[in-house]
């Protein structure tokens, strides 16, 4: 059962990869333009896969911790915090190399997590409160980003395209700064699987089944924030993948995190690829940012979840 579903997910992913690579070109055309494939499209595919899976896993971790299927890094204000830090770096220190964006975004994400915990945290980390305060925080960070943009009008265009979340103009150099982070973070996330399973039973049960609830929760949140921030640093704020991918994964393979997290990673990658290809082929030659597409697909799905969710 799980194997079959895994194959479906991989198949989806492959189809999406092929789609992005070929795009509007036919196969023969593609063969003759190998450089386009290698230099432009392939690197883009790889980035989409990496960033998409980071977002998927970040969402799965967040939902596991907050114990609310409607939570995701974008909703608790972490993405906005990372965006703010990255925008500030981009605008105030334009001469810095792109590799600095990742540490900046991570710091931004972690600081916003700290603010969130400070504001919403009692010892128990009440899920509803986390979400509400998180939403408020993302409003505030969003306003600060807008303020930065309006005060630096000469750079506004680059920053705007980056902010909506786009894969445009990303190349192999971005792959190399993204990859090492994910090679560390993803396995670290997978080791938390069993603890997250237990956390889903409620704090008291998790504690009595041998979980150090507070520690696991903090660790998972930090991992989720870092994963989301890394992808924000490279692709900008791509919304809703962190929400949709883990949820679809839960429908496919159930609630055991050992299976759920890899599936969420696969689905996240596939979703981002699909969004990217749609963004490119919908209205040529103008390219839409992939982040807009994920929002247009993701928001209705979120609404659908909201209608189904009965846990109020």
């Amino acid at each position: 059962m799980a194997l079959r579903i895994g194959m479906i997910a991989v198949g989806l992913l492959l189809m999406a990869v092929a789609g992005v690579l070929l795009g509007t070109l036919s196969l023969e055309q593609a063969m003759t333009r190998a450089w386009v494939m290698q230099d432009l499209r392939l690197s883009r595919v790889v980035i989409a896969i990496l960033a998409g899976s980071a977002l998927g896993v970040a969402g799965a971790l967040t939902q596991g911790v907050i114990r609310n299927p409607l939570a995701s890094p974008d909703l608790i204000g972490v993405t906005a915090g990372a965006s703010l830090a990255a925008t500030a770096t981009l605008l105030l220190f334009p001469q810095l190399a792109h590799a600095w964006l990742i540490p900046a975004a991570i710091v931004g994400g972690l600081v916003s997590l700290l603010i969130l915990l400070w504001l919403a945290g009692d010892s128990k980390l009440n899920p509803t409160r986390l979400v509400l305060v998180g939403i408020a925080l993302s409003f505030w960070f969003g306003a600060l980003v807008d303020w930065l943009l309006s005060s630096q009008p000469q750079q506004i265009n680059a920053a705007l395209v980056w902010l909506t979340g786009s894969l445009w103009g990303r190349g192999w150099s971005h792959v190399w700064i993204l990859l090492p982070w994910l090679l560390v973070l993803l396995p670290a996330a997978f080791t938390l699987s069993l603890k997250l399973d237990l956390l889903a039973l409620g704090d008291e049960s998790a504690q009595c089944l041998g979980t150090d609830v507070k520690r696991v929760r903090l660790l998972a949140l930090i991992l989720a924030v870092t994963l989301a921030a890394v992808s924000v640093a490279v692709c900008g704020a791509i919304s809703f993948i962190g929400l949709v991918a883990p949820h679809l994964a839960r429908l496919l393979v159930g609630g055991r995190h050992l299976l759920l997290m890899p599936t969420a990673a696969l689905l996240g990658a596939a979703l981002l690829l699909l969004a990217d290809i749609t963004a490119r082929t919908l209205t040529p030659p103008i390219e839409l940012p992939a982040g807009v597409l994920t929002a247009i697909i993701g928001a209705p799905y979120f609404i659908f979840l909201l209608l189904r969710y009965r846990g109020w």
């Binding site: 409160r129 505030w140 807008d146 807009v292 928001a299 909201l306 109020w312």
Partner: protein
């Protein structure tokens, strides 16, 4: 019912409003405006300064005050009918919905409708408001605070993404970008002509709803048993909200947080009675937006910050505080 308002309070409020009005009228200009210029303008002399005051500043300040009042009253009505302290036009995606429809109108360039921004924004406000209300559980009569906020987020995100798509696809619509951040910079007497009839109508209608909202505050069942009709009051109030928010957004762009913040401040000042709460909310909202407009010119002097941003910077921490309170009461 006790009116918790003293003459002192009314004086203080009016003073706040007048000061804000004057500051917004005269302050933060590269052209050194003095109160004396105002007298000259009133006396009918025509200098550069008086010309500036009458044709640029005066409409702008009037619009600021009116937009502030309408948005604040819309927020108070929404909080009244949903019995939810987090309800406000911006959080419910009403502002973004209105903005999105306006951009749609600009892009499609339909012959008749494109010239009627009020119609477009009102329809957008209606669309978004209805969606959030229904998604938040309004159909079942059980509105859950978090659920409402989440529904607002989703609807907001959807309209925002649509707006961005249109902006990227259509070069002509680029002029709307500054307006989208919520700005009073380019307003003139033409906008004022557009704004005041709808705002006046909406405000008067809102005031007549006051007593009914008081009943509603007791809970649907009690309100019904005291002879009110909760469903009908909600419907009327929603129509008024759509009119108020739609007309404000058509002129100033989506300005967030006034509708959320001001009703709470007003409630702290005068208590829960909507008959007095709604007018005070209006006054406070007008004063707040005037001051924010003044601030928006000072913040990065001599260039202007969109006033919507100033309010978001002020308002988001308030929202944080409110959501913390929220959790303690539910």
């Amino acid at each position: 019912m006790i009116f918790r308002t003293s003459p002192l309070l009314s004086v203080a409020l009016l003073l706040l409003l007048t000061c804000g009005f004057m500051m917004a009228l005269l302050g933060g200009s590269t052209f050194n405006l003095q109160p004396t210029h105002l007298w000259q303008a009133l006396a009918g002399s025509q200098t550069l300064a008086t010309e500036l005051l009458l044709s640029l500043r005066l409409p702008r300040v009037l619009i600021a005050a009116t937009v502030g009042a309408t948005l604040a009253i819309a927020g108070a009505l929404m909080q009244g009918i949903t019995r939810n302290p987090l309800a406000s036009p911006a959080l419910f995606g009403i502002n973004t919905g209105a903005a999105c429809l306006l951009v749609v109108g600009q892009t499609l360039n339909l012959p008749l409708i494109s010239n009627m921004p009020l119609l477009q924004t009102t329809f957008g406000a209606l669309l978004a408001g209805a969606a959030v209300f229904l998604l938040g559980g309004g159909g079942t009569g059980r509105l859950h605070p978090t659920r409402l906020v989440l529904a607002g987020i989703a609807v907001n995100a959807l309209f925002l993404a649509l707006t961005r798509t249109l902006l990227i696809l259509d070069e002509q619509a680029q002029s709307v970008v500054a307006w989208l951040a919520g700005s009073l910079a380019d307003t003139d007497w033409g906008h004022w002509q557009q704004l005041w009839p709808a705002a006046l109508l909406g405000t008067v209608a809102a005031f007549t709803l006051g007593p009914k909202l008081n009943l509603l505050a007791l809970g649907d069942e009690t309100a019904a048993s005291l002879g009110g009709s909760p469903a009908r009051v909600r419907l009327h109030a929603s129509a008024v909200v759509v009119l108020l928010a739609g007309s404000a957004v058509a002129v100033s762009g989506p300005i967030a947080f006034i509708g959320l913040m001001v009703p709470h401040l007003a409630r702290l000042l005068v208590g829960q009675d909507h008959r007095i709460l709604l007018p005070v909310t209006g006054l406070l909202g007008a004063a707040l937006l005037c001051w924010a407009d003044y601030l928006s010119r000072l913040l990065q002097y001599p260039s202007e910050t969109p006033v919507g941003l100033v309010l978001a910077l002020l308002g988001a921490p308030f929202f944080v505080w409110l959501s913390r309170q929220q959790q303690e009461t539910t």
